[in-house]
Amino acid sequence: MSDPTPPLLQIHHLTKTFGGLMAVEDVSFDLTAGLILGLIGPNGAGKTTIFNMVTGFYQPTSGEIRFMEKKIGKLSPHQITQAGIARTFQTIRLFKNLTALENVMAGLHHRTRMGIWDALIRSKSQRQEESMIMTEAEYFLQVLGLAGYRNELAKNLPYGDQRKLEIARALSTRPTLLTLDEPAAGLNEHETQDLIAMIRKIRDGGITILLIEHDMKMVMDLCEQIVVVDHGRKIAQGTPEEVQKDPFVIKAYLGEEEK
């Protein structure tokens, strides 16, 4: 065998300060292609800050993020999406007044090219592209079981389906890495099980997954690798079993034992 393939996502000594506040301090971890990695930690631990740096919404103060060996720390969010990292939002940010289909069509924008001129004359290639966009958007609705909502406004969907629509929309950008910010927030037990199955299916389709989650049961069920952060630092990394036994993790979550 030749060299092992380098990790899909490499985070090296990542630090982010807001004014004098150290939100993330010297965090490093790798994410191997094909895994489901969970990023967990108590509230305010810096998970979302890390997440926002990976997706380009924040720029790191120092440190490096490499995706497929390319530095992405200084790219803007749309460039990062174009490079192959798609995201969802912690609080749902669908295009509320657009239909489900139109929401998913957004992900195809950066993969299509037709400009003003083609739109004006409705050239053959423009019409082909438009029907390709439509077909592919419909496909992603179908994958997530949302085909019935095609022409429904996003805001009229039930909450759980809005979460799914956000995932469908993210998938339509054809990412290599899908990042999910608390995808199970607000879902009931049944919906969460559904979601777990769906995320596994997406991974089996060849997409690597990074997720932040509060629902411990879900994280332990789903993730193959877990990174634990607390107070902006990484305190543990490993499989769910390893992390659960880690004394630092227990301390972070349950507090210190009284002496």
């Binding site: 174009q82 940010r93 669908l94 007044n97 657009l98 924008h109």
Partner: protein, 333 residues
């Protein structure tokens, strides 16, 4: 509601309405005298101005309260090229569009990251800067406060366009093209991108859409189109002044879009009839226009914030949750 009924029939028989309206627009000036032909011409120009501003305000959801500056730039480009370089007026039109579009790019590029009210303030300032530059006879070519006069009449294959009715038809050609083009843009990849940006800029960015570029496209297209309107103005009046870039002009254009119905082509037409045509037809109304504009604004914002003839989407965005509990009956759509 009556407007809703008209809207519905519009959607059901689009071709009948479109052909009917085009025939009406062609026949309209025939029975009229020169004064009303000029009113009709002005209406058409303001509809085009409204539509150009609608790209920026209605589709991309950005504030632009200095739109008249690009109207003025288009008019001055046509006038200066005609007077100083002797270029026939109709051939200056592409340059008017180009110059206005280039300025649209240069001016808005550095301020695109501003949002809402901040963007509005900067655009107001820009309109004033253009006006003052023209008043101060910048580069010695704008003629100062008096503006420029003696612009050639446009000449179409030997036919000198002197009568208002010729200008009306010249305007109509551009107007029909404008409406056609904007309808196509609305339903294109770029049109959707504007919609995404208007709805949620961060989410659009996360979908891989270069939101800066998309917003710039709105400003460039809108500004260029306003430049064309300026050239049409210079061609008809043959006299132009810095007043073209007055703040009040920008406010009239903004009101046309907002009162008529943000993001909606028929809305802009309705808005123009209210803001421009009626005051021209009834003199007393014109004297009171500023007051009537203010009152109309206040009443509309309270009673019908989405405008008289809104696009369905913008209506949803503005009315939002208010209507969720009380959905519009299905028979309407």
């Amino acid at each position: 509601m009556r407007i809703a009924k008209i809207q519905a029939s519009f959607r059901r028989y689009p071709y009948a309405w479109q052909i009917g309206l085009i025939i009406l627009a062609i026949l309209l000036p025939l029975p009229l005298g020169d004064y009303y032909r000029t009113v009709a011409w002005r209406t058409g120009v303001y509809i085009m101005l409204g539509l150009s501003l609608n790209i920026i305000v209605g589709y991309a959801g950005l504030f632009q309260l200095g739109h008249a500056a690009f109207y003025a730039l288009g008019a001055y480009t046509a006038a200066i090229m005609n007077l100083k370089l002797g270029i026939p007026l109709l051939l200056t039109f592409p340059f008017s569009i180009l110059i206005a579009a280039v300025f649209g790019y240069l001016i808005t590029r550095p301020i695109l990251h501003l949002r809402g009210d901040y963007l509005a303030i900067v655009t107001i300032a820009f309109g004033e800067v253009v006006r003052l530059a023209l008043v101060n006879n910048i580069f010695g070519i704008t003629g100062g406060a008096n503006g420029l006069s003696g612009i050639d009449r446009p000449n179409l294959f030997g036919l000198e366009l002197r009568q208002p009715i010729y200008h009306y038809y010249l305007m109509l050609v551009f107007l029909i093209f404008t409406i056609f083009a904007i309808r196509r843009l609305e339903n294109s990849r770029l049109g959707r991108a504007w919609m995404y940006v208007r709805e949620d800029e961060a989410a659009a960015e996360a979908m891989g859409i270069d939101t800066t570029r998309v917003k710039l496209m709105a400003f460039i297209l809108g500004s260029g189109w306003a430049g064309l309107c300026g050239a049409l103005y210079a061609a008809k009046l043959t006299v132009i002044s810095p007043d073209l870039s007055r703040f009040l002009e920008s406010v009239v254009m903004f009101s046309i879009v907002v009162l008529g119905g943000t993001g909606s082509i028929p809305g802009v037409v309705v808005g123009t009839l209210g803001m421009v045509t009626l005051p021209e037809m009834f003199r007393p109304l014109k004297d009171w226009r500023d007051a009537w504009m203010g009152i109309a604004m206040v009443v509309m914002m309270i009673a019908r914030p989405e405008g008289l003839w809104p696009s369905r989407r913008v209506r949803l965005e503005i009315r939002g949750d208010q209507e969720e509990a009380n959905p519009i009956p299905a028979a309407n759509s």
